[in-house]
Symmetry: C2
Subunit: 215 residues, 2 copies
């Protein structure tokens, strides 16, 4: 085996992710980061030109970690009706945000959006991430509108924005732990279903076609 010990740079990123998520960007001191990793403060600035660069690096990694995982999910998503796919996607989103709490906490930090206003790369990353999330919802909804399980009255993209907003909002409530959101899961799914489902009678207009649908 080669390189069993993590190098200092990775250790710094790891610890910074933890601290930024737990205490926020501004409240994380370089001294604490140094203590936590065993690296001298100088070492941190040897690897990163400043504190902001650490945040950006984490954001870059987040994008490169999470987006493929979402893409992979989208490809393996089972071939039920579009409406079922939406429900599944909500569930997947809730699961991902729970299992990667630290990373998603960064996306909810005010600092990220402040930075995005002056730093184009930051803005691009954030937009790419949200576009990916919303795209998955949109595709599911679009599928549903084609197979007749979802009402076509509202644009797929707009519905996607609304469903995503709802899911993300629940995540936020969970993180701020003002209300117990865990008990709301079943109702959340049911609400999404009611919001979207087609009830015009022309329900089964077009079953998922056997012939592979072109990309």
């Amino acid at each position: 085996m080669r390189k069993t010990t993590i190098n200092k740079k990775d250790a710094i990123i790891q610890a910074a992710t933890f601290l930024f998520a737990r205490k926020g960007y501004k409240d994380t001191a370089m001294g604490e980061l140094s203590r936590m990793t065993g690296a001298a403060e100088g070492t941190i600035f040897y690897h990163f030109k400043n504190k902001q660069e650490i945040f950006l690096t984490i954001l870059r990694n987040l994008k490169e970690d999470i987006l493929p995982e979402f893409e992979r999910y989208r490809k393996t998503a089972s071939k039920k009706t579009g409406l079922d796919m939406v429900e599944e996607t909500v569930a997947f989103y809730l699961y991902m945000t729970k299992s990667r709490e630290d990373l998603f906490s960064l996306l909810h930090q005010r600092y990220a959006y402040e930075l995005a206003e002056t730093n184009p790369e930051c803005r691009e990353i954030l937009e790419a991430i949200y576009d990916c999330f919303i795209d998955i919802f949109e595709r599911a909804i679009d599928t549903g509108q084609r197979d007749g399980s979802i009402d076509p009255a509202i644009t797929a993209r707009k519905s996607a924005l609304i469903v995503f907003s709802l899911a993300d909002s629940m995540v936020r409530f969970r993180m701020n732990n003002l209300y117990d959101v865990g008990a709301l899961y079943k109702e959340l799914i049911e609400s999404c279903q009611r919001m979207l489902e087609n009830r015009t009678g022309t329900q089964e207009r077009q079953k998922p076609q056997a012939t592979a649908t072109p990309e």
Copy 2:
């Protein structure tokens, strides 16, 4: 007329509200607050024992300003079906958050929730505010479930939490201005309606009663 000039204390609160909302609690320096109000730094600490106390004062005022306004709204809410009331409430919430952007921005600050974890008063205020918001939705939904316009399948409180989450999420998107949410208003209302409406056929089971319903 007496006391046309605002006293320094009120000026400080006003400026602090503006700055905390605009730049966040941590990024607002007492020096800036001093410059903006014309009050010396010493004066600020004469009126408030520390920075946190300023934040708490604003939060207290927010509660005492906003809650009565919501209560007033609830009482004057027109006597349509419960479903209509929910839509109206969503609209009212969006309107209020827009016209009082600074205050509501405070409610979306991470600092508020950090403080709530150590300071019981802060936690009480936050809970009271959110309870008030959600209560209004809950009462509207409950009314709807009684008059048959809203499906009784989901508890009024749980539906209220979901609808409120959705509305609040839109507000957040608007503030972070990543996506243009203004164009989504119509669809938001429609989605809420679809989510809640009763479609079991027993729709008009019970019209709003002429006799005053007891509190």
